[in-house]
Amino acid sequence: MIVSLDPEVMQIAGRSLALAATSCAIATLIALPLSSLIHFNSFRGKRLLINVIQTLYSVPTVVVGLFVFVFISRAGPLGSLGLLFTPAGIVIGQVLLVLPIMMGLTISALRGVDVTLTDTAISLGANRFQTAYVVIKEARFAMLGAVIMGFGRAISEVGLSLMVGGNIRGFTRTLTTAISLETSKGEIELSLALGMILLFIALVVSIVLNRLQQR
């Protein structure tokens, strides 16, 4: 079925990739500046904040799903936007889902930069922003790794897409929701095909991550 490039399978795979990529891009735009802000400033409760972020790495997808569901359902505060059971709803959910891991890993990446390098930059006359620039640049590969981890989490989650997206055929059906639906319907062959694609994507993600860690 993969070999024959079944149009529906390909459409689902394309949609999954597009949703995860969009969520990942938006989350990156939020996570990188916010993490840098946290890392390069000292304030009360910084440690606690980082701990909270790290705890949220493993928040169950259904909990985020429930949270987003409540917010964007008809009766919720954002109900009037009609986001429930739309791709946009999924994106909102995925952004929230991957933000903690992206931020946490970005902060770790920045912390991982040798303090001697920071001292060297300062001694060479860098001001605060120039120092931050150097540190971010040194952490670039580890930070890219954080982004890819976020992408991996977004593309592989199922609970959230199911609850917020509703698995509507041709609209919000993704690889993971399709697999869970088709399997329960007994369409094992289709599920396997979708599963293979997901596995392939996961493989690519992990290869890229490995490559980055070697830099």
């Binding site: 390098l117 001292d119 060297t120 930059a121 001694s123 006359g125 120039q130 150097v134």
Partner: protein
């Protein structure tokens, strides 16, 4: 009064970490154009002091003046002063980019134009003998090459003050000589004021005109090398500057600045103004001790006979340990050791001048 103001001055400078004083009461004055060496055992606070001088850290006490201005507090003034200095850290690191960019950073941060940066980078890489390394990733360089990049990066900005923290630690003799030559070139070419921490006292002597001795976070003394080597302030420093003969004793007589010091069964004569009854250490550098097979003259002071207990030789010098009631070490040339056919078990006469004895009080 000197006409020019010191380029760096500290008053009662102190630093604490975790409630512990790491530096105390540092009053240091670095003149424009001088080369100043900081020596002291590991953990004495050399790096901590250099970091304060480069305004990387803020002191927990005291003030730092740069070119006459108090730069202890204001962030803006600190940055401005820091941009007139450069600091080669004890553990040199390079940015994960090309050698060229490593050297260019400091210039870019000062807003220099692209063309001037290129010229300047060319010039300093030429100077450190790394003209062919422009495009190489700096992470892939050897330790000695990294140190040269670190120095190039520092001098690129034409600093008025160059701070060096053990610039040749962990380098082999060839790289050490190379870096040392480079520092010599910088001194010649730019007349840069240099403050360098070093554990290598012969290197310090070759490069620096003045030395400050740091011990347990305090500057014990500053001055010329002769003073540092021959008149250390306490036993620990005497040990640190390589005085091998430190003999404990009691002042027996004291007259016209001449004292006699009793130790075990012998009496040592020295020039000093300690009072009778003071407990002291008599310090004699081993190169000040001369050896002979027969007593030079019966009336000679500080002449002791004893038996050689150990002999070792390194290069052209022989180190001879003698038991003459107390242990005495002499450094003589291998040649004279050969002429006297000195060997373990042989009896010799050791002597040293009263002026060669430096007396310090016991703690």
């Amino acid at each position: 009064m000197s006409t020019s103001e010191p380029i760096i001055e500290t008053t009662d400078l102190g630093q604490r970490f975790n409630g512990q004083d790491v530096l105390r009461g540092i009053n240091l004055s670095i003149e424009r154009g001088e080369v100043f060496a900081l020596i002291g055992p590991t953990g004495s606070g050399k790096t901590t002091l250099l970091r304060l001088l480069d305004l990387i850290d803020t002191p927990s006490q005291g003030k730092v003046y740069f070119d006459g201005t108090d730069v202890t507090e204001s962030t803006g003034q600190r940055l401005e002063a820091r941009r007139r200095m450069a600091f080669v850290l004890q553990k040199p690191v390079v940015f994960n980019t090309s050698v060229h960019d490593n050297v260019a950073y400091g210039l870019r941060w000062r807003g220099m134009s692209r063309d001037s940066i290129r010229n300047r980078v060319d010039e300093v890489l030429e100077m450190v003998d790394m003209a062919d390394f422009h495009k190489r990733n700096a992470r892939m360089l050897s330790g000695g090459e990294i140190q040269r990049v670190a120095i190039a990066r520092a001098i690129a900005t034409e600093p008025e003050v160059l701070l060096l923290d053990e610039p040749t630690a962990n380098l082999d003799p060839v790289s050490t000589a190379r870096i040392e030559g480079l520092i010599g070139d910088i001194i010649q070419r730019y007349q840069t004021t240099i403050v360098m921490a070093t554990h290598d006292m012969s290197q310090g002597q070759r490069l620096a005109g003045r030395v400050g001795m740091l011990l347990n976070g305090e500057i014990l003394q500053t001055g010329g090398w002769h003073e540092a080597f021959n008149t250390p302030r306490n036993r620990e420093m005497a040990n640190f500057v390589g005085i091998e003969n430190i003999i404990d004793g009691l002042v027996l007589t004291s007259e016209d600045n001449v004292v006699t010091i009793g130790t075990n069964h012998s009496v040592i004569e020295a020039i000093s103004d300690f009072a009778v009854g003071d407990r002291v250490h008599a310090c004699i550098r081993s190169e000040e001790v001369t050896l002979a097979l027969s007593p030079i003259s019966s009336s000679a002071r500080n002449s002791f006979s004893g038996e050689i207990t150990r002999m070792t030789s390194t290069g052209p010098v022989a180190r001879v340990e003698i038991d003459c009631g107390f242990r005495l070490v002499a450094l003589i040339t291998n040649r004279s050791a050969g002429e006297m056919s000195l060997e373990k078990g042989k009896s010799v006469h050791a002597s040293f001048k009263a002026t060669a004895v430096h007396v310090i009080k016991q703690d």
